[in-house]
């Protein structure tokens, strides 16, 4: 698809997304909002794991950083939530930078374990510091807008998601994105042709963490209640599952995965709280037999063509 065509198609999709909630009830609107949150989380995690091969288990923790920073500032210091979200994003970016720099010398497994340790430490701190975070009870926070309106929140999340995806798209198709892919394919070879591997990996961590923090901040003020469920391994799992099932290393994979799993969850809920089990089984099968996810399967069964453009 040429550049111009992409803009048209994207524009149409976004326009469609704008009109969509108007015909839906409150609960479906909620599902869409949650889906948009996961689109942002999955797409940014994909930048780390799918594009630079850094499988981080601390992504949900970054969302938690965004949510709790903004929430605590609002509750304790009366800071306007919008500014709070910016602060949360900045803090997440900073921690992402630190974590990325920390993990530079580490191989894949050690990096994953370090991010895991980071997420667990954060979770424990949040649960324990009741005075500040209200622990497992959850922190009640003000919303982003004076009058609560699902539609308004929907448009906010939609705008945020579109912004984030645009940034990711431009990144992936830039020189940086090409370096990302090269580093992921073969780091030694990438180094030998001059790629600044260390910078690339830390940059990916910083940007991805900032995005998670941003998404978390907005989400927290939507839910009006911030709990340790945000920086949890369960949320991290959902993000991972959506990316894996949708297709790691592809732009659309996480988006498709996020929507698909969230909508699927609602259908499964009718029978009981089995959705995580189902996600897990599907993710297991996909990861084992179709490692490139739904997008990978789609590409396989499309007519073959060789082309120059980066997918």
């Amino acid at each position: 698809m040429t550049g111009k065509k992409i803009v048209w198609v994207a524009g149409l999709i976004v326009a469609g997304m704008c009109i969509l909630p108007l015909s839906l009830g409150i609960y479906p609107q909620h599902v869409l909002i949650v889906s948009l949150f996961y689109v942002m989380m999955a797409s940014s995690w994909n930048l780390l794991a799918g594009f630079t091969g850094q499988v981080s288990f601390g992504h949900a923790a970054m969302a938690g950083i965004g949510a709790y920073t903004s929430g605590i500032l609002a509750v304790k210091a009366g800071v306007d939530p919008w500014i709070g979200v910016c602060a949360g994003t900045a803090l997440a970016a900073l921690l992402g930078l630190a974590l990325g720099a920390l993990c530079l010398k580490m191989g894949g497994i050690y990096l994953s374990l370090t991010t895991l340790a980071f997420s667990q430490i954060l979770h424990i701190v949040i649960v324990n510091e009741y005075d500040v975070t209200r622990g497992t009870m959850g922190l009640q926070v003000p919303g982003l807008v004076a009058e609560y309106s699902k539609i308004t929140y929907y448009y906010i999340m939609l705008a945020a998601a579109v912004l984030m995806l645009t940034i990711l798209y431009r990144m992936i198709h830039s020189n940086l994105g090409m370096n990302f892919r090269a580093v992921q394919n073969d780091e030694v070879a990438a180094k030998s042709v001059g790629a600044k591997v260390l910078q690339v990996r830390v940059l990916a961590f910083t940007v991805a963490s900032a995005m998670a923090g941003f998404a978390g901040g907005l989400y927290g003020h939507y839910l009006l209640l911030i709990t340790p469920e945000i920086p949890s391994l369960d949320l991290q799992f959902k993000v991972l599952a959506m990316t894996v099932i949708g297709g790691m290393g592809s732009f659309f994979g996480p988006i498709i995965g996020a929507f698909a799993l969230n909508i699927l969850e609602e259908y499964i809920r009718v029978y009981g709280e089995y959705h995580v089990l189902v996600f897990g089984l599907v993710a297991l099968v996909v990861a084992r037999f179709a490692p490139n996810g739904l997008i990978g399967l789609w590409r396989k069964f499309r007519p073959m063509k060789t082309h120059l453009a980066v997918k």
Binding site: L102, I109, Y110, S112, I121, D234, V276, L277, G280, A287
Partner: protein, 285 residues
Amino acid sequence: MFAISIMNGLVMGVIYALAALGVSLVVGIMNVVNFAHGELYILAGYFSYLFASALGVNFVLALVLAVGLVFILGLLIEYLLIRPTYGNDMYSLILTFILSIVLQNAYLLIFGPYPNKPPLWVSGATDVFGLFLYGNQRLAALVAGAAVIAVIFLIIKKTWFGRIIRAASQDREMAELNGVNTTRLNMLSFGLGCALAAAAGVILAPVFPVTPSAGVPVALTAFVVVVLGGMGSLWGCVVGGLTLGLVENLGAAFISTGYKNVFGFIILILVLLVRPSGLFGRAKV
């Protein structure tokens, strides 16, 4: 207070070491980190409860059956999931992470959220050194755990199978060139790793409640111990496990119980920063 913490630290330390041995074995030979390690530990607990309490099987037999079943499951997991990932550690990490979540939810579905307790092996308490009373089951756990560790050490150091394991974890290619069937070795090692988790599980099941997600902290702790002790080092697991057990329990007693688990993670990050090869591990070139 101090003395009891030390006792608890020792008991937990031995169990941590046992769980870590399972992880270390698999990492050393296959370079695979089994995220679902904790779920296999808990599964053994569930099995021992099923056989001993629900079915009334003789409790020693129940233990053996539990460990044996998990061993076989380990072989199956290796064959189905791990084998195709050979060489790509990220892939196996992702797969075992997903498996861990799947198992946790499966347990929730099958066994329900409430804790299950297999019967105690021994009841009552003993006067330790005249200082305090300590539960006999915990003492039994300490002894049993230490015994299993000793057996493993014997196997690794003295037997022919142990020699193959040591060779393969040092240099896989060399072992292959010398005729070792690495595929079968992988499968057996993975099974053995799971069996070790299972052993730890049946030992502690009478003491701590068996719930669907109780395996998660065990796996995480095992990872910390392996990193602290050094990947692929058996002594590292023992020293690391005991160290962690003591630090955690002393920390919980004197600093804060809520933050008990933080110590392990902080230790992990510090070790990876300062000396990634751990206390006894081989330094990376």
